[in-house]
Symmetry: C2
Subunit: 376 residues, 2 copies
């Protein structure tokens, strides 16, 4: 463990992932107010933090109806730790993996996505096999059609395909057609408001047409789920989405802080609650310092980290175990601590084993990163 | 665990880190031949693989005298698992962390680096405190001067500074001046041979002058350690370096495979032994496929992964849990496995908990990634 409850910041073994609990709680409260005002459910994205403690707080304090995650192994870890309502917002492939998913559906409220008829058939076979084995003939798996609404990743490629797949789910033994997964990850990170709005208008129009076509085919389609921190205000106001899959709102990262709404503010007014606490380990020359958080402590896929609480100090390069800092005014002494704001919180959190919760300068709690490394 | 001994590739839960054991052993054998021919010791860089099993094979089969690593927590994990000779090739800062290091020096052969007199004083205080506490007055810590030979990261900034620091170490109670750490990480990744040679010529000249100045000050300086997979042939032939800190040679990654020697081959003739095994989870449209290894399974700081064993299939984008593949000839079916060659092996290995060793298409061994997440 990187610290003990009651420790001062200076006692924490760095690099460590720390949460400013006051800010974190404000972020949870803000999202509760937003989703309530929008009249949509919050299904907090646990792929971001991978922590059962945080998932439960998002539900109890933050008003979430449950969580979503991307991997069966994440769902296994979260369900085991007491999170009872989980959407695996992704395709699940392979006989052994599908069997694991179906075993979870016998223990909690589980929903999954499909974008191909072979998957629907595999889900159905696995449920029927589990029914035969367990004698539980009420077992049913909720399946969403995942449509490609613009991300060009997974998802059905046309309205006709979505309707066909919805029908296949609805008629497959052991499955229930549960609605539409329409998640436009890329649009959530478009910084300029007009451009983001335009991308989402297209996505919302296509999703509406798809839902209506499914209804016209005689199926009910009351659940439309998707959206994220950078875009939920738009999807939430559309009247189409019933569930918002935001994750990063709880922590905020440097990339999401670049996203702007029409009035120039950041979406939702969320603040940075997550930092990588690092120590200056070398002051090798004028204007330079090196801290002990490298690529194995902070993800750089969305850019270099920002340095919190200072003016003038900037990250200029990150290698495996080091972050080079430019420090033109010579503010940093050997052994000083710095707080880095990660460019992207999801892959950063997955590098660590513990969250260290801080309030009033002291460690208040340590939360294990329940599903760290659960990628399978 | 992602697999069991005896499993076929198809049984492995993906994404998983797999090692082609035949290739891996050839790489170990090649490096043994190279370092023996060059007349230098191999100190294999365990920051790359973080595995005690691999470290021991590098020593027993591969001829390494020991390993190096970057963090005290890595050294703790490796020493606990039976690796007895470890250089922490990095600065170590903070009273608690230095005390942990010194406790290790009571159990194994430990060397560490310094680039600042405050660190030297801290090491000395910690050794003397440990002596007083344990009654072991033979306890001594070997300390190298780390000089900046071109990387502009940590390290002393001038010959005079290096000499002063070497003297401080040599006269500090409980410490032994052990030589020079001169590691030019950036040069190891310069692809063009002439440019790489030029950078290393400068570094070797500066390191030679530094060693000579330390000797002229009356200290012996028989150990000069550094170099890596992309450059060891040059440093190894210099007559200056006594120890080679190569790590990636055992696995090879896509970035190191771009480095060229004057005859157009890759340094050392090493081959790709490490792959992220992934499964095609969606075939959403003509010419496209999506596999289940994203940023949490393969590091992209040194570029996108390559796809092994296919022509025409290319990674075109990696997000948290997905890798988008371009597949113009439609070779990939739903459920097919692909092998990704990581752009950078070090941060990729740190994402996983197990290596799955493969020979003749079957799982032969599972090795825990002993120091996974040990960043403190």
């Amino acid at each position: 463990m990187p610290a003990r409850v009651g420790d001062l910041l200076a006692d924490i073994a760095t690099p460590a992932l720390i949460i400013d609990l006051d800010v974190f709680e404000r972020n949870l409260d803000r999202m509760r107010v937003h989703t309530s005002a929008l009249g949509v459910s919050l299904r907090a994205h646990a792929k971001m933090h991978k922590s059962a403690d945080i998932a439960k707080l998002q539900m109890s304090r933050g008003g979430a109806v449950g969580v979503c995650c991307q991997k069966v192994s994440e769902a296994e870890a979260l369900l085991r730790a007491g999170v009872g309502d989980i959407l695996v917002s992704n395709e699940v492939i392979g006989e052994a993996r599908v069997a694991r998913l179906v075993r979870l559906a016998a223990k909690g409220k589980i929903t999954v996505c499909a974008d191909h008829p072979d998957q629907v058939a595999a889900f159905s076979r696995a449920v029927m096999a589990q029914r035969a084995q367990s004698g539980n003939n009420d077992l049913i798996l909720d399946v969403l059609v995942e449509m490609d609404c613009g991300s060009r990743r997974c998802g059905t490629g046309s309205i006709a395909e979505s309707v066909t797949l919805a029908k296949a789910i609805a008629t497959a033994p052991g499955l229930r057609f549960a609605g539409l997964q329409s998640y436009y990850g890329r649009a959530q990170h478009i910084y300029a408001p007009a451009e983001r709005q335009a991308a989402l208008n297209e996505s919302i129009a296509l999703t509406t047409s798809t839902r209506d076509a499914i209804r016209a085919a005689g199926l009910s389609c009351d659940r439309v789920t998707g959206a994220g921190t950078g875009s939920f205000e738009i999807e939430g106001a559309s009247g189409l989405y019933t569930e918002i899959q935001a994750g990063s709102y709880a922590f905020m990262d440097a990339d999401y802080a670049k996203v702007r709404t029409t009035d120039g503010s950041t979406p939702g007014g969320f603040e940075h609650a997550l930092f990588v606490l690092a120590t200056v380990m070398s002051v090798p020359g004028a204007g330079r310092a090196v801290c002990d958080a490298g690529l194995k402590a902070v993800a750089v896929d969305s850019g270099l980290p920002l340095v919190a609480g200072t003016t003038g100090v900037k990250a200029i390069g990150v290698s495996d175990e080091h972050c080079n800092l430019s420090d033109p005014d010579g503010q940093l002494r050997l052994g000083a601590q710095v707080r880095l704001i990660p460019g992207h919180c999801d892959p950063t959190c997955n590098l660590h084993d513990w969250y260290v919760g801080i309030r009033n300068g002291r460690v208040e709690c340590l939360w294990p990163i329940t599903a760290r490394g659960k990628v399978f």
